[in-house]
Amino acid sequence: MGRYGLLIDYEYCSGCQSCEVACKEEHGYPVGKWGIRVFNDGPWLVDEPHDWNWHKIPVPTKLCDLCADRVAAGREPTCVHHCLAQVMKFGPVAELALELEKKPNQVLWCPR
């Protein structure tokens, strides 16, 4: 088996944090521990008058197991399933890398 990863289109991540909470519910992580966190960069002005940089970027943590139990049962990870903005994909890194090639403002994480 090759390596698996999460491909995230951060151009459209709205910062809803469903991934964070779905992960906590799935794994029972307590307050103060996360399997994935949404980091915030912005808003800061790139150019007057309305060109802003504002990215929300979900980052899997040390506790991310890529939902091993769910995936073993044939299901997609819970963060991917519940993402309101539908910006997350799970799969073999080789497959996701091809997707990454197609569009900018994406990031491919390989937590394990």
């Binding site: 912005g42 309305h50 802003w52 504002w54 309101l84």
Partner: protein
């Protein structure tokens, strides 16, 4: 990579290990708008073990926000009230609740309600309701369950949705026209009938977070990904504003000026749809003449946006075919909102975007859903002499006749002055109005309600409102503990409706509508017996999907039913009860010049008037309180005052935030995370600074809904409800001419770093207003539109023609 899913599975199945999976939809509780997101509940041995989004839902497709993801924590929270409780009247404010049976609780309610009705009349009972939840329909609770005409939503000027719905009814003869996000079409965005809009305008609305009234907000993002351009009209920089192609960052409360200027540009540059205007609009010439008084150059000064930006935005909207405008809460939360709404409807109309695929869509009048929601079947059962006693009817018929509810500000006036009559009791239907949710001046509501003869509440948790004011507490079910129905926009748009499917029981909790039925049977039996007899399920079916031929038993199998109603219904006769083409108005056309407004003494055409407190209308106040304050932007974590006791939600937003620009924070020596004291001429509160570019220098934003379930619940602290109560700064009775709208989003304030003494005084300061006669305030029955000093200060307060 392909995964397994549950597409095509029935509404309920049992897994190998005995877990029962049920598909259904969410509404309330936990509170949300009637968006009806699809959920799957996994129940083992009668207990909810997990919840997931249902990928079968045609719109939400398995996605779920944090409030439903934590439904299990909400359902089984140790603080949840799951049995009826009672408390002696003299113990209000003290934690001396005792568990009782439903029978005893209803008995206490029946005895008190019966006595009040007999001695003083049914109209002396108020039925207060919250927003968005199942229980928001004051009509059914007040009129049918209780038998009083005085259902009431406590928000000053009904400054949420009601104004938009009413304005639309008066100008178009239809409910609020939602943007077309293909919610009613089986093929969704790819349905052959649908067209992805070239542009979506979010005007005073952030639907991604709010899911307002049934618009699944992330549909906007879905459409942006499919090529729709985005325009945002918002004083703040939200994440979607940063994503947008156009951001009109106007001064709060100046929307009508911007709308007029956009109309003027579109008309002057001949960018409007001549065919639609000729065939279906009334009063175009008059509108053109009026908006010519507000060229972009003038609006630029008022709104604080360069004239060329306004013109470019107008051109971009007019040239996009189709285009839609999602207009939101901010329109309701100004006194000039009726006119701003009038401008937005006129923009949709003259660009030909009404009821076209990808435009703003209208309800089919023969569709049969939602037509009972306001009337709630109860209004017609009230005797005429009671209907005439509804508070505010004479003064604000445009409000009271449309909403069939007491005018919020006049209800507080009645409580404080006994005019037109003394109020003797209040039923709080899932509303926590002492928390900064809806009511303006919540300490006044507290003072006015705390000595009434009898108050009772139905809710989920012990709220400050329940603790402070009530004698009986009725525990309410969550959306997975009852069979019910959720129609988007309360039935008012042709999208979809879904089944709430019961899968667990918790304690002795009861669904809102089941409570209406059972309580009504005891306290207002004539509305529930004889010809009016029904089971709770029949009541729910009739109420939500009465004329459609659908009922819960059928809907449960389907879970979500898409309504698939046609476009351009002004051509097909589906907007008028007589089946003739046209709109359901006096002229049969969409009224750009409104005879309805005129009949209420309002200007038939849009005009601009300054917010009641602004650097322009009250420069002397602005000198003392130089910052423009806007309130109430939504957070994913919370629905108004709900959710603070859910650990995973509280972790997302632990403290009540006050957004302040970096330059302003620096000038005041305030750092991110500092507690600040925010105050204006009406009150003060304590909030935590969030230093951000989301607000421009001179503008600040305060979160609403805050109380602290972890703190002392007893009076006077009441779970810290006064500490961060931003509605203390919102004035009473500053409404538009029709009685609608209030300046929740355009006030003035100042702030400084908080000191320890600020926290010591917060519970008591202002509660009893020392030195002020207890039940008299100088703004009881105040009319902004009749205040000459205010009119004089406004640059363009248009008069009727």
């Amino acid at each position: 990579m392909d995964f397994d899913n549950d597409i095509g599975k029935p509404w309920r199945w049992t897994e190998e290990d005995g877990t029962v999976v049920t598909r259904g939809a969410a509404w309330s509780a936990p509170g949300c708008h009637p968006t009806g997101c699809g959920i799957k509940t996994y129940v083992k041995d009668g207990r909810l073990v997990r919840i997931e989004g249902d990928e079968n839902h045609p719109v939400t497709k398995g996605r779920l926000c944090v409030r439903c993801l934590t439904l299990k924590d909400f359902t089984y929270h140790p603080d949840r009230i799951i049995y009826p409780m009672k408390r002696a009247r003299e113990d209000r404010g003290l934690d001396k609740w005792e568990r009782c049976s439903w029978e005893e609780a209803y008995g206490i309610i029946a005895e008190n309600v019966g006595r009040i009705k007999e001695k003083y009349g049914a109209e002396t009972l108020l039925a207060m309701t919250g927003t968005g939840r199942m229980t928001q329909m004051a009509g059914v609770g007040a009129h049918r369950a209780l038998g009083t005409p005085n259902g009431c939503y406590a928000q000053s000027g009904f400054a949420c949705y009601g104004p938009r719905v009413s304005i639309t009814q008066y100008l178009l003869g239809a409910p609020y026209p939602e943007i077309d996000f293909a919610g009613g079409l089986p093929g969704g965005y790819d349905d052959p009938q649908y067209q992805v809009p070239e542009m979506i305008v979010q005007w005073g609305k952030e639907p991604l977070v709010s899911n307002g009234d049934g618009l699944f907000g992330h549909a906007v993002l879905d459409l942006v990904k499919r090529g729709a351009k985005l325009m945002c009209v918002d004083p703040r920089l939200t994440w979607t504003c940063a994503l947008a192609d156009y951001h009109l960052q106007l001064r709060p409360g100046t929307d009508a000026a911007l709308g007029m200027a956009m109309l003027d540009t579109i008309i002057a540059e001949d960018l409007y749809d001549h065919d639609f205007v000729d065939k279906w609009c009334y009063g175009f010439e008059q509108l053109a003449e009026r908006v010519a008084t507000m060229p972009a150059e003038r609006a630029a000064d008022i709104c604080g946006i360069p004239a060329e930006e306004i013109k470019e935005a107008a051109r971009a909207y007019a040239n996009a075919k189709p285009a839609s405008i999602a207009w939101g809460l901010a329109i309701d939360q100004t006194v000039n909102g009726a006119q701003a709404g009038q401008c937005i409807l006129s923009l949709i109309a003259i660009t030909g975007n009404f009821d076209v695929p990808g435009g703003n869509i209208l309800q089919d009048i023969f569709d049969g859903s939602g037509d009972k929601v306001v009337a709630g079947l109860g209004w017609k059962l009230l005797p005429d002499e009671l209907k005439e006693k509804v508070i505010g009817l004479e003064e604000y018929p445009a409000y009271v006749n449309m909403m069939l509810r007491a005018h919020a500000d006049r209800a507080l006036d009645a409580l404080e002055t006994d005019i037109p009559y003394k109020i003797h009791g209040i039923w709080f239907g899932s509303t926590n109005l002492l928390a900064p949710t809806c009511s303006a001046q919540p300490k006044r509501w507290y003072n006015a309600a705390k000595d009434l003869d009898f108050n009772w509440v139905n809710d989920i948790f012990m709220t400050p409102t329940a603790m402070a004011l009530c004698d009986v507490f009725l525990p309410i079910s969550s959306c997975i503990e009852q069979d019910s129905i959720v129609p988007t926009h309360y039935g008012g748009t042709p999208n979809y409706y879904s089944a709430l499917n019961k899968c667990i029981e918790v304690g002795e909790c009861k669904g809102e509508f089941y409570n209406y039925h059972d309580m009504g049977l005891i306290v207002n039996p004539s509305a529930w017996t004889g010809d009016n007899a029904c089971t709770p399920m029949e009541f729910i079916d009739d109420y939500f999907v009465g004329g459609t031929g659908m009922n819960h038993a059928k809907l449960r199998e389907e879970v979500t039913h898409q309504r698939v109603v046609g476009y351009r219904k002004y051509e097909t006769g589906h907007l008028r009860p007589d089946g003739m083409p046209g709109f359901n108005t006096m002229t049969g056309r969409l009224e750009l010049y409104s005879y309805a407004f005129q009949s209420f003494g309002e200007d038939p055409l849009p005009y601009y008037v300054e917010p009641p407190f602004s650097p322009v209308s009250t420069p002397e106040v602005a000198e003392r309180y130089p910052f423009i304050l806007t309130t109430g932007a939504r957070e994913y974590a919370y629905f108004h005052s709900e959710g603070r006791q859910i650990p995973y939600l509280r972790e997302l937003v632990p403290e009540p935030l006050f957004e302040v620009n970096e330059a302003d924070a620096r000038a005041k020596g305030i750092k991110d995370g500092d507690w600040v004291r925010v105050e204006n001429q009406f009150g003060f509160c304590l909030l935590v600074a969030k230093v951000t570019n989301a607000v421009k220098p001179g503008l600040v934003h305060a979160q609403h809904g805050w109380w602290f379930p972890e703190e002392d619940g007893e009076a006077p602290h009441l779970f810290g409800v006064w500490k961060s109560n931003i509605n203390s700064l919102v004035p009473h009775s500053r409404n538009g001419k029709l009685g609608f709208g209030a300046p929740y989003k355009c006030l003035l304030c100042d702030f400084r770093k908080a000191v320890p003494e600020d926290f010591e005084n917060v519970d008591v300061e202002g509660v009893d207003q020392p030195g002020m006669p207890k039940h008299k305030y100088d703004d009881n029955f105040y009319r902004l539109d009749k205040d000459e000093s205010y009119q004089g200060a406004s640059p363009a307060a248009g008069e009727g023609e």
